[in-house]
Amino acid sequence: MPKGIIFGLLFCAAFSAMPIQAAGQFSPGPVSATAIPSRSLIQAPELVRLLKSGHEQPLILQVGSRIFFAEAHIKGSQYAGPGSQPAGLKLLESTVVSQPKDRFIVLYCGCCPWTKCPNVGPAFKRLHELGYTNVKVLYLASNFGDDWVTKGYPTDRTQ
């Protein structure tokens, strides 16, 4: 069996085993960021190099808290709604609907330590379901403040 098909089956199996969070907002998000394949992660220094390279820029989407986005966000990124909530996934869908399926998209959140993030897993899964083939998730071990802002990486805030 071709490697691509094996990877696809493993990916689908990993996500189909996870329950999608229901509308109730106060249960911790069960779709873990740790289920995202490592090949689909991008590290902060790599993204910074990309942003400064002048090459084609990815569409960078924050899929977490609106308040945190207003405080600070990656320069040039857009707010696309919390991935752990149905309304957030709808906003994500509407944000990418006009994009080609092979568009380079980077998702990030950083609301909580990586293993506890309720947002990036469902957002990544939804884009995969929608057929987007070039999606990466920014790995933020602790949170966006510690792993991006305080490192002096390109940051902006909502005016």
Binding site: Q25, P28, S65, E71, C112, K116, G145, D146, R157
Partner: protein, 171 residues
């Protein structure tokens, strides 16, 4: 001014401006350690006024949290117990929810029998406290209103409780 000194002065000035400019976005909650806790006045989700300045003389645990934050929910039942246990010694917890909407906050705090005031936060309050851009973040504030401890990311319950005891014992 000699040329090398002048260049060094300019570099230091530039670095200072860069730090200040970065401070608007780039400061971290840790920068508040051993500094006065910023005051704010907000209504809590019950409609009661919460004035940080009015808690001088008590040890305050100011916790930034959200309903979608799993480690925050691990802390919550401990905080409810601590509020009951330490209140007679002059301890007060104040919670700032970073949720976008109050409805899930009201529902969860009612369900968990939260016994301390909860106010709704926003980006202004987050920035006031050094840039709260990840949860949970807990500020321990001593009886003089100084930030005496900052605990980020959860899983510091034992250390936090020990620090609370120390601060309560100090006069």
């Amino acid at each position: 001014m000699s040329r090398p000194v002048c260049i060094a002065f300019r570099a230091a000035t530039l670095a200072g401006f860069m730090l200040l400019a970065g401070g608007a976005i780039g400061a971290a909650p840790g920068s508040l350690l051993h500094k006065p806790a910023p005051d704010f006045v907000r209504k809590d989700i019950q409609g009661q006024a919460v004035d940080m300045a009015s808690y001088r003389g008590r040890v305050v645990l100011l916790t930034f949290w959200a309903t979608w934050c799993a480690p925050c929910q691990v802390e919550m039942p401990h905080f409810v117990r601590w509020q009951s246990e330490f209140a007679p010694q002059g301890f007060q917890i104040i919670a700032v929810s970073m949720d976008d909407d109050a409805a899930p906050v009201v529902a969860l705090t009612r369900k968990r029998h939260v016994n301390y005031p909860v106010v709704m936060g926003d980006e202004r309050l987050g920035i006031l406290y050094g840039g709260v851009m990840g949860l949970p973040v807990n500020f321990l504030i001593d009886r003089h209103g100084m930030v005496a401890g900052i605990f980020k990311g959860g899983s510091h319950l034992d250390a936090m409780k020990a620090r609370i005891r120390d601060l309560l014992a100090a006069r």
